[in-house]
Symmetry: C2
Subunit: 463 residues, 2 copies
C-alpha cells in the first residue's frame, strides 16, 4: 500500500507538490483553508496578490515535475524583456534584463493557481479538501506511527491520519509552528519598513492601441516608477490590464492622511500612471485597499526527524518580492525535494535531512538578494554610475560568455547555478567591475587608448 501524505496549502507550491508526490505514487490529500478559488463567481480579486514573474528556475522546476503540465499551466504567460523606467515627466526608458534577449514572464497568480488546481483534479491519487484550516498536528511520539492532522472546518474539527506532512502553507505557516513544538528550530522573522498597496490599470480603450492587444503601455516590460525610497511597479495581464503595486515606507503612508495629500503626492510622483489608473480609482485604492506588510522568514531545520514532516515554499523562506524569486524558489524547492526522494528511493528521513542540510545556504542567499534588490529597483536604476556599471557588466557578459555572468542573469536565467554560488561568483565579478569602472573614469581624459589598455590588462588577468 502506498504511503499517505497531507499537503497543507493549495497555493502554487502546494499544488505542484501534490502533483509531484502523486506522480511518485503517494496517496495525497491536499488541504486548503480557503474555498475553491475556481468557484468564486463574483469579481472578488484578491487585493494583496503582487503579480508574479516566472523565470528559469520556476519553469525548469515545473518541467522537471511534468513537461506537459508545465506547458498547459504556463500557456498565458506574457514575456517581459526588461524594465521600463518611468521618470516624473512621464518619459520611458527600457533596460534589458538579459544579455541575449532572455526574458522573465508575467502571470496572474490566481490564473496560475487555478490552472494548477485543474491539473491536480486530473490525478486519481490526489484528494482535495477546501475549507480545512490546519489547527494542530499530533506527531507520532515514537516516530513510527501516523501523524494526526487536526483541521477546523465549518463548525467542527476533523482528524486525518497520514504517514507524513508537507507544509506549503505560507509565511504564517501552521505546519511550521507545529514542527517547532517538536524540534529545536532556529527561526527569525523580520519586517522590512515597506508597505504595499495594489492598484489596477484597466485595458486601454479601443482607440488607443499602439501595442499588440489592448495594452496602454508596453506589455513586454516590467514597468517601474522609481522614486528613491518608494516606487510603483506594473505587470501586464492577458486581458490588457496591468496589476500595479505601490511600495513605500509605513511612515510615508501614514503621513498621507487626507485625500488632498494623497492626490498631490500621486500627481507629483506618478502623473502618467495616475492617468492610466484613473485619479478617482487611485485615490480610493490608497484610502481603502488593504495595506500589506513585507516579512522575511528564515528557519532551520525544515523537517522533523524520521521523515514525519517538512516545510517548503514561503512556509520555509518568506522573502520580499523585489527579485521576483519567491514562487520560482518555491517551485525549485519542490524539484530539489523530489530529486532527493528519488535519490534516497523514498527514504524520507534521509531525503528530508539532506534537504535541510543542503538547501539552507541557497535559501538564505536568495532572501538576502531579494532584500537588497529594493534599493536597486527603487533607486539605483536611475543612477548614472549604476547604469554605467550595468552596461559594463552586460558588455563583459556578452564578451566572456560563461566566464562572466551578470548576477541578474544567474538568478533569473541560469537555473543550473544555485543561488549561493551566484552570490559567490558575483562578489568576485563586482570587485573587478568596481575597479574597472574606476579605471575607466580615471582614464577618460587620457582617451580611448588608455581605456583600451586598462581593459585589456584587466581582462587578461581574469579567467
Amino acid at each position: 500500500m502506498s504511503e499517505s501524505v497531507a499537503v497543507i496549502g493549495a497555493g502554487l507550491v502546494g499544488c505542484l507538490t501534490a502533483i509531484a508526490l502523486a506522480k511518485r505514487d503517494y496517496d495525497v490529500t491536499l488541504f486548503e483553508y480557503r474555498p475553491d478559488p475556481r468557484l468564486s463567481t463574483t469579481e472578488d480579486r484578491n487585493l494583496r496578490s503582487i503579480n508574479l514573474a516566472i523565470s528559469a528556475r520556476g519553469i525548469t522546476s515545473l518541467e522537471f515535475i511534468d513537461k506537459q503540465i508545465s506547458e498547459r499551466v504556463l500557456r498565458d504567460i506574457i514575456p517581459m524583456h526588461g524594465r521600463m523606467i518611468h521618470d516624473r515627466d512621464g518619459n520611458q526608458e527600457a533596460q534589458d534584463y538579459g544579455l541575449f534577449g532572455e526574458c522573465i514572464n508575467s502571470i496572474d497568480r490566481g490564473l496560475l493557481n487555478n490552472n494548477l488546481l485543474d491539473e491536480v483534479d486530473k490525478l486519481t491519487n490526489v484528494k482535495t479538501e477546501f475549507l480545512h484550516k490546519l489547527s494542530q498536528i499530533k506527531f507520532a511520539a515514537a516516530g513510527t506511527g501516523k501523524q494526526v492532522c487536526v483541521f477546523a472546518t465549518n463548525l467542527t474539527t476533523k482528524n486525518y491520519e497520514f504517514d507524513f506532512v508537507v507544509g506549503c502553507d505560507g509565511a504564517y505557516s501552521t505546519t511550521r509552528s507545529q514542527i517547532q513544538h517538536n524540534t529545536r528550530m532556529d527561526y527569525s522573522q523580520e519586517y522590512v519598513d515597506c508597505c504595499y498597496i495594489e492598484l489596477y490599470i484597466p485595458p486601454a480603450a479601443e482607440t488607443n492601441r499602439e501595442f499588440n492587444g489592448p495594452f496602454a503601455i508596453s506589455p513586454n516590460h516590467l514597468h517601474i516608477w522609481p522614486r528613491h525610497n518608494f516606487m510603483l511597479i506594473a505587470l501586464a495581464n492577458r486581458d490588457g490590464s496591468f496589476t500595479s503595486t505601490f511600495f513605500g515606507p509605513w511612515a510615508l503612508l501614514e503621513s498621507l492622511d487626507s485625500r488632498a495629500k494623497i492626490e498631490e503626492f500621486l500627481r507629483h510622483n506618478f502623473s502618467d500612471a495616475l492617468k492610466l489608473i484613473g485619479t478617482e480609482q487611485a485615490l480610493n485604492a490608497f484610502e481603502s485597499n488593504p495595506r500589506g506588510a513585507l516579512m522575511c522568514v528564515e528557519c532551520k531545520p525544515y523537517h522533523l526527524n524520521r521523515g514525519q514532516a517538512i516545510i517548503i515554499g514561503d512556509a520555509a523562506h518568506s522573502m520580499v518580492p523585489f527579485y521576483g524569486q519567491g514562487m520560482n524558489c518555491g517551485f525549485e524547492d519542490v524539484k530539489v525535494l523530489m530529486q532527493l526522494l528519488d535519490k534516497h528511493q523514498g527514504d524520507r528521513s534521509a531525503a528530508f535531512g539532506e534537504y535541510s542540510e543542503k538547501r539552507h545556504t541557497d535559501l538564505v542567499s536568495i532572501i538576502e538578494l531579494a532584500k537588497n534588490n529594493y534599493k536597486e529597483m527603487s533607486h539605483s536604476v536611475t543612477s548614472k554610475l549604476y547604469l554605467m556599471r550595468k552596461k559594463l557588466d552586460t558588455l563583459l557578459g556578452r564578451l566572456l560568455k560563461d566566464n562572466w555572468i551578470p548576477l541578474y542573469t544567474m538568478v533569473s536565467f541560469k537555473a543550473e547555478i544555485p543561488y549561493h554560488k551566484a552570490i559567490l561568483k558575483e562578489q568576485r565579478q563586482k570587485k573587478i567591475l568596481v575597479y574597472l569602472q574606476a579605471v575607466i573614469l580615471a582614464f577618460t581624459s587620457v582617451g580611448a587608448f588608455g581605456i583600451y589598455k586598462a581593459l585589456r590588462r584587466t581582462l587578461k588577468n581574469y579567467k
Copy 2:
C-alpha cells in the same frame, strides 16, 4: 478609578512587576499557569532550574522598587567572590570576580520566587490567580476599550478584562505571540548547541566540615569544571547543598548511550565532583533527568501601540545563562519600565514606546555577551594567555579606577553602566589590552625596564 492590569506569569520578573505596579496604584491581577509553588508539600524540586546569581543590576532594581522588600527577599543569598576552577586531577584554583572584593550572590530560584510571592500577598491591590493558562488576548480594536484575556483553567475558559497587559511569561511567551498577531514584530529564536542536565550535591557529612556550615566545597565561589566544549558548574544553597549543572553539546550527550559510557566519561572528566554527587546519583541524573535546551530570543518592538500591552523579562529576551544576567536583566527591565511610567506620568503609550526604542540596544548586547561567555567559562579560564590578560586587566582596573573597568565588573557590579555602553568601553579597552600583552611578551627578554617603559608609554596615551 485606577487602571487595571494583568501581569502574565508569576515568576521572578512577574512578581516584581506586580509589586511595582501595585505601588503605583494600579489594580493588578497576577496570573500563573502553574499551581502555587508554596503549597507543594512533596520534595518536587524543579529539575530544570539553573541556580541563580544575583548581582548589582538585580539588587539595585529590587531596591528601586522597594528597599525593605529587597532586604527581605534577599535575606538568604550566599556571596560568591569568584570562580573556583577544578582541573581533572581535582586541584582547585580561585579566580576573583571583582577588583576590590565585589561579589555576586547565589540564590535558589524557588526560594526567591516564594519570597516574592509572599510580598505580593501583602499588597491589597494585587489579586493572584494560579492555574490560569493564558490562551488568547483580544485587544480592543480601536485601542480605547479593554483588553480581554482568555485563560484556560481546570476544565473551562475564563475571560477577564484589563486596561493593559504586561507579559512576564518567559521564553515561550503567549503574550508575545498574541502581540505578534497585532503588530509587525521582528522576532528571532536561535538554539545554541548546548544541552543541560541538573545534578545535586548534598550537604557534607558532619564529620567533614572545613567551611562555615555543612558545605563540601567552598560556598563562596562559583565552581566550574571547565573541559573545553563542555563543563560542570555548582552554586551553593543555604542548607549546605549545591545545585550543579552539566552543559555540553547534544551530540556528546547522545554519544553517551550506555551507563558504562556515562560512568567512564564522568570518572575521566569530573572525578572529584563525582564523589560529591555520588556515582549512582550522577548516573541516574544523566540517564533520567530532563535535558534542557538553551534558546536565545530577540524581538522588537516589545509593546503594542496605545499602551495596550508590553513584554519584559525572558518573554522579550531569552538568553543563555553564562553571564548570570538573565534575572538581573529582567529585574532591570522592571526598573526601566517603572522609571518611564513615572517620567511620562502614567502615559503608557509614551512610556512603552520609549521603552521599545531605548531598551533594545542593551538587551541585544547582553544576549550577545551571554552567548560569548560560554567559551570563556568552559575553555578560556584554563588558558595561560587568557589568565595573563585577565591579570593585566585587573591591574589596570585597580590602577586607573573609573578610567579602566574590566567588562565583567561593568556588567555585574556597575548597574549604572548600560549593557551596550559596557560593550563599547570594553572594545576600546580590549584593543589596548591585546597590544599591551603583545608588548609585554615581546619585551620579556629585554627585562623589567622594557616592560616598564612600554607600560608607561601606553598608559600615558590612554585616558
